[in-house]
């Protein structure tokens, strides 16, 4: 029986992608054998008097732009899963949170990170997140 060789953990720094100012910012993507972790930073919006709220839907997924293969949502860190919400108290609040998905191949060139596969403005869907062109590091 062949022993499975563990791949190195690859960290992608601030990949470029289509986004809106009011959306969370993709800060890093960590690719490991067990999961793909996407780190987001979010500044409460001045659109709402008290900064509004955030949540994440379990139906979120990552999609390889080339093969269109989907990678399922696994879990979250520091953000509630819908229907629960993180409600801000003021517009100066901020939130750093992470979403975990199934592991994506380390040679993937570009992914879509989809909160809800609908083409309207209510969901933060990041299309064509450029993994290939981003700065990459190996994590100890």
């Amino acid at each position: 029986m062949k022993a499975r060789i563990k791949k190195e953990k690859i960290l992608v720094h601030e990949p470029s992608c289509g986004s809106k100012p009011e959306w969370p910012k993709i800060l890093r993507i960590l690719m490991t054998d067990e999961f793909t972790k996407v780190d987001f930073g979010y500044q409460a919006t001045a659109y709402y008097l008290k900064g509004g709220w955030v949540k994440i839907d379990k139906s979120s997924f990552i999609r390889d732009c080339t093969t269109l293969k989907k990678y399922k949502f696994l879990r979250v860190d520091r953000i509630p899963e819908a229907p629960h919400k993180h409600k801000f108290k003021t517009t100066i609040e901020y939130l750093y949170f992470s979403l975990y998905f199934e592991p994506i191949p380390q040679n993937v060139e570009c992914v879509d990170i989809i909160e809800m596969d609908k083409k309207d403005g209510y969901y933060s869907n990041f299309y064509r997140v450029n993994i290939r062109g981003a700065e990459k590091e190996t994590v100890i």
């Binding site: 601030e14 910012k25 800060l27 960590l30 979010y42 500044q43």
Partner: protein, 344 residues
Amino acid sequence: MPLNKEATLRYHIIDECLRNKHKPYPAIEFLMETLEERLGKKFTVSTIQKDIKAMKEDEELEYFAPICFSRQFMGYYYSNPEYSIKKVPLHTDEIEALEFAASIIQQYKNTSISGTFSMAVDKVLTSLKAKRHSENDVNTNIIFPEKSQDFKGAEKIDFFIHCIREKIPVSFVHYSYHEQRFDSYIVHPYFLKEHRNKWYLIGYSESRKSLRIFGLDRIEDILMLKKRFFAMPGLKPLDIFKDSIGVFLSGVGKPKTIKLEFTRNVSGFINSQPLHESQKIIKYLEHGGIIVTLQVHQCPELKQLLLSYGSDVFVMEPVSLRRTIEEELEKSLRNFKTKSTRKK
């Protein structure tokens, strides 16, 4: 006079021999053999006798060991079988010094260094059965070092100390209060600095290609990276903040001469606790005020410091700094007036 290290070792070996219940009443020849065996060199009868005398009588050693000679068994023994030089208590001032250090380091109670140190002090004092004041003792709280509130980020100090020592580049997410945004950074960490009970990491940022300061309270999710560490050539940590107040990086440009006039209300404090090591009193005024100069960079911390003196300070030079302070005071006054009116 500092103790001779070898002599101290001899005292401890003699002490062990005197306390060995399997070989009681060691003779001087036995002590000589044991010392030779343990320390790898011969000692004379005279040396051993002097050692025993020192252990019994030397006031600097403070052992005052109850060593007696038994004519019946032709050997030495402790008249108090419980005695050991290892049980000799610390001097009172040494205990106080340890407790003082422990109380100061308590400020950093979230770090493992503080925990380890406090435990070590407790262990020493407990093992020496040092008499400590009880909680109800009125003398217990006689020293009050400035205690910081638990601050977010203190738990990262140990991690960064490890990365700095081992020269490991790191990746982390940082939130800027000023810009109200998140960024991720790859940083080669150099050192940590404390300012007003807050800790900062100073390191080389790859994306900014320069030395940067990061408040530990705003750093999230640190990852160690497998890449070559970059050491900035000619970096001297002590020089970086030499010409600044607070945590402003003074690597670029020369510091400016800041000329300030203080009223008599605060001149005594300014005199006894200079604002910066470059402070010079250039004039004592008739009414008790003083004029001082500082050689520092203009930075937000300087502005905050001057504003904290309110009407007791006047910025004589440079004019740009005076304008900045004036504007801030005017804004403050407007704010107060507006809100006072609103309350009515």
